[in-house]
């Protein structure tokens, strides 16, 4: 088991290195750097001025060197620009250059400087991640129990009317992407002209104070899309378990139906959905980006959009490191959890 986890961790780190390098490569392409120079400096810079701007800030060097600096395995640059100013990657903002460390990368805990928000990247990422954490927590609290109940109810009597209506519901929710359901929810529940006006159409105020009114719609929007998929998986797994021999034995013994479902079937039926729920995290991340943009909730997804829209290289790298680790860790947890839940499966 320990060897398995170690191997998976090794693959994880390799994946994270590859992914961040791809992001680094794409954001460091010359047209992107030119855009960065123009948004940070002056929109009407000439080509020569752009080149000077980039050279002064060390952007024009070898890609691998820059990546090594970002990682923290190569010493940060110190460049005396042709405007006479000495700039260094590791110079503290507003501090003196003398006591700057030689290395400052992710490995040293320094994630860089966001050119969009003018703040250290780690501060932004963790602050925004906290906000998104609340959203995710609420979504999980709605989605997982809801999906499991729907799936179990539908799967316990396959082909019944209850099964058909719940299955229709779950198909409809999987076919409704967040930007469609969000728009429909706002139209029905929040529109100021014809709607019911139960909830607010934006979640901006939820960043300080989460209330029923401003948080329901975003949570519902994300939860519904994921719910249908988990519910269908649960239903399939439940339906399969209900045809098993031991369920028939229990029925013939005269165990009551609720008892069969709760005591005999449920535990075995929940093994498969567990994996699915863990693997839903990467999808939730997508939903979070859409919903945070739609409801103007300035969390992690909104930061991703801002960083990508402004070619904020180090923030974008920070965001992708976090999201890649979320994805990979959930995969690892789902694998390990699966082994523990299902004793028939052995690693290696």
């Amino acid at each position: 088991m320990a060897l398995f986890i170690l191997r998976r961790l090794g693959i994880m780190i390799l994946t994270a290195l590859c992914l961040t390098f791809i992001v680094f490569f794409l954001t460091n392409l010359y047209p992107n750097l030119e855009k960065l120079a123009k948004t940070q400096g002056n929109q009407r810079m000439s080509d020569e001025q752009v080149e000077v701007w980039l050279a002064n800030r060390g952007y024009d060097r070898n890609l691998f060197v820059k990546y090594g600096e970002w990682l923290g395995v190569l010493p940060g640059y110190v460049i005396e620009g042709n405007d006479g100013v000495v700039r260094g990657r590791c110079f503290p903002q507003g501090g003196s250059p003398e006591d700057a460390p030689t290395f400052c990368g992710v490995l040293q805990g320094d994630w860089g400087w966001s050119t969009r928000f003018r703040e250290p990247v780690q501060d932004i990422v963790f602050k925004r991640l906290g906000l998104t954490g609340w959203l995710m927590l609420a979504v999980m609290c709605v989605m997982v129990p809801g999906a499991l109940i729907i799936g179990v109810l539908a799967g316990m009597r396959e082909g019944s009317k209850l099964d058909r209506s719940l299955s229709t519901f779950s198909i409809i929710t999987t076919a409704t992407p967040e930007y469609v359901s969000g728009v429909i929810f706002i139209a029905v529940f929040a529109s100021s002209t014809v709607g019911l006006k139960w909830f607010k159409g934006t979640a901006t105020s939820a960043m300080e104070d989460i209330t029923w009114e401003n948080f329901t719609l975003p949570v519902l929007t994300i939860a519904l899309y994921g719910m249908g998929y988990i519910a269908r998986m649960t239903r399939a797994s439940m339906a399969e378990v209900m045809t098993a021999q031991y369920i028939r034995t229990a029925r013939l013994k005269g165990v009551s139906f609720p008892n069969i479902v709760l005591k005999h079937a449920l535990r075995n039926a929940l093994i498969a959905p567990f994996t699915v729920i863990m693997l839903q995290f990467p999808w939730l991340l997508n939903g979070v980006v859409i919903v945070e943009t739609l409801f103007n909730y300035k969390g992690f997804g909104w930061t991703l959009v801002e960083a990508a829209g402004n070619n904020d290289i180090e923030l974008l790298l920070g965001v992708s490191v976090v999201s890649v680790f979320v994805v990979l860790i959930t995969q690892l947890i789902s694998d390990i959890g699966y082994v523990y839940l299902n004793p028939r499966i052995r690693v290696s």
């Binding site: 992914l19 469609v180 728009v183």
Partner: protein, 472 residues
């Protein structure tokens, strides 16, 4: 001129009926769900089993009857639109139904022919045995025909890009201001915040989806199959490497990838062209290997098939990927290409994993061993023994994946990536409409519902196909 009402002269008669039916339907469905927990067990009466009629049976009838009534009333609106003369009398629904007449005609023809010959049509014919599958197929074909006829300019009431002064954010059914002879006199679903016709934009958006989503999915399948089969068949280092690559792409949040790939700056670097050059070579490789492995004992036939594949394939390849068609017929605008490439790129790892999983399972079957004993080559076994036996799950996944691709295209439009800002695709239209959503609902809702119904149709179609292919 007066604005159009939603239902025209049919309204006063049919609307109360529809509302009543909908209320009865809602209540009876709820009742049914509640009652299904309180089941009656069948009692034995003589030699047969029979249950006494219970409340849940009556509720079931009420559900069926009210649902039938709802469907009938909706049909009446649509047929009324075709039959009743005069736009005011038709109402908005009727007028839309009348604009869509080629679609109805095509749907009727397709369904009539398919039902007539369903026993001779294989899996496609079997689809018509399942209600769910038929509903799904109907929804999908509705949008396919709408898209095609929109491209042929049969359905549009106005140009989807033209702005008409005085029509900004006007409600559905508003008469066109300053209408001239030959102009369609109404904005059927109102105007958006740039005073363009919402109905025409929605219909034109169908074409944007129909022309990209299926082809992107086909390409993703070609890439996934061409890489997934050898990965499963040979295993070893190749499998490890390709699986790592697939997992690498899958670990990327899709939206981050889109934001990195689908920008004008990236288009300027030419990276999409190189990606297209790599991804689009796979279909040619696929077909060449397919024919080569089958006909390598018949050089004459092999020459013909591979020759045709290479000539047509490379011609299309030059035109699509490099925009260098020697005859100048095929051209692919760069911003469409980047959308196409990134959608293929995002989809192919998942297809790869599915194909690999299926092939790993089928590889152990006896007929594969038999083929190996016969001395068939590895590619013959992969493409002519394993692949045809994996077709059931692949066809089902193909339908689901077109739906997912549609959602991805909508996501791209929603974030304003790729397609030009005034393009009528559904994602961009939803994105524009959402900004004024709390005041004006009509610009955002039609494309949202259109996208929902297309994806729902594809999901139902996949469900029907899965059911029917599991049956035999």
């Amino acid at each position: 001129m007066e604005p159009l009402t939603w239902t025209g002269i049919l309204g006063p008669v049919l609307n109360p009926l529809l509302i009543a039916a909908a209320v009865v339907f809602g209540i009876s469905v709820l009742l049914q769900i509640v009652l299904s927990f309180v089941t009656t067990s069948p009692v034995i009466q003589g030699p047969t089993m029979a249950a006494p009629r219970s409340l849940s049976d009556y509720v079931g009838w009420a559900t069926a009857a009210s649902f039938a009534l709802i469907v009938l009333v909706c049909l009446a609106y649509l047929v009324g639109g075709l039959v009743i003369p005069g736009l005011e009398a038709k109402g908005i629904l009727g007028a839309m139904s009348q604009r869509l007449w080629p679609v109805w005609l095509s749907l009727v023809v397709v369904f009539a022919l398919s039902l007539q010959f369903k026993r001779r049509l294989g899996l496609y014919g079997k689809l018509f045995d399942s209600t769910i599958g038929m509903i799904g197929f109907g929804l999908v074909m509705f949008w396919v025909f709408t898209g095609i006829y929109a491209a042929m300019d049969l359905i549009l009431t106005h140009d989807p890009l033209t702005q008409v002064s005085g029509m900004k954010n006007k409600l559905p059914g508003t008469p066109l201001s300053g209408a001239e002879e030959g102009d369609y006199p109404y904005y059927l679903l109102g105007g958006d915040n740039l005073a363009r016709d919402v109905f025409s934009r929605m219909v034109a958006g169908a074409w944007e989806v129909i022309k990209i989503a299926p082809f992107a999915t086909v390409f993703a399948f070609m890439v996934g199959i061409t890489l997934g089969l050898p990965a499963a068949y040979y295993g070893g280092k190749l499998d490890t490497f390709l699986s790592f690559l697939a997992n690498l792409i899958l670990a990327f949040p899709v939206i981050l990838l889109f934001y990195l790939l689908v920008t004008p700056e990236i288009v300027a670097t030419g990276i999409p062209v190189y990606m297209a050059a790599v991804l689009f070579i796979f279909p040619i490789v696929f077909f060449v290997v397919l024919f080569n492995s089958r006909f390598h004992t018949q050089p004459q036939k092999r020459l013909i098939y591979i020759g045709i594949t290479l000539v047509v394939g490379l011609w299309l390849y030059a035109g699509i990927a490099w925009n260098a068609d020697p005859f100048g017929i095929i051209a692919f605008p760069p911003n469409l290409l980047v959308v196409f490439v990134s959608v293929v790129f995002v989809n192919s790892p998942t297809v790869f994993r599915i194909v690999r999983g299926l092939a790993l399972d089928i590889k152990t079957r006896d007929y594969v061993a038999a083929a190996q004993t016969r001395g068939e080559g590895p590619w013959y076994i992969m493409l002519w023994e394993i692949l045809p036996n994996a077709r059931g799950p692949l066809i089902v996944d193909f339908c689901l994946r077109i739906g997912y691709t549609t959602i991805l295209l909508g996501t791209l439009g929603f974030f304003g990536l790729g397609l030009s800002p005034e393009s009528p695709d559904w994602g961009s239209t939803i994105n524009e409409g959402r900004k004024l959503l709390s005041i004006y609902l009509h610009p955002a809702l039609p494309p949202a519902l259109a996208l929902l119904s297309l994806v729902l149709g594809l999901n139902l179609l996949a469900d029907g196909l899965r059911e029917e292919s599991l049956r035999d």
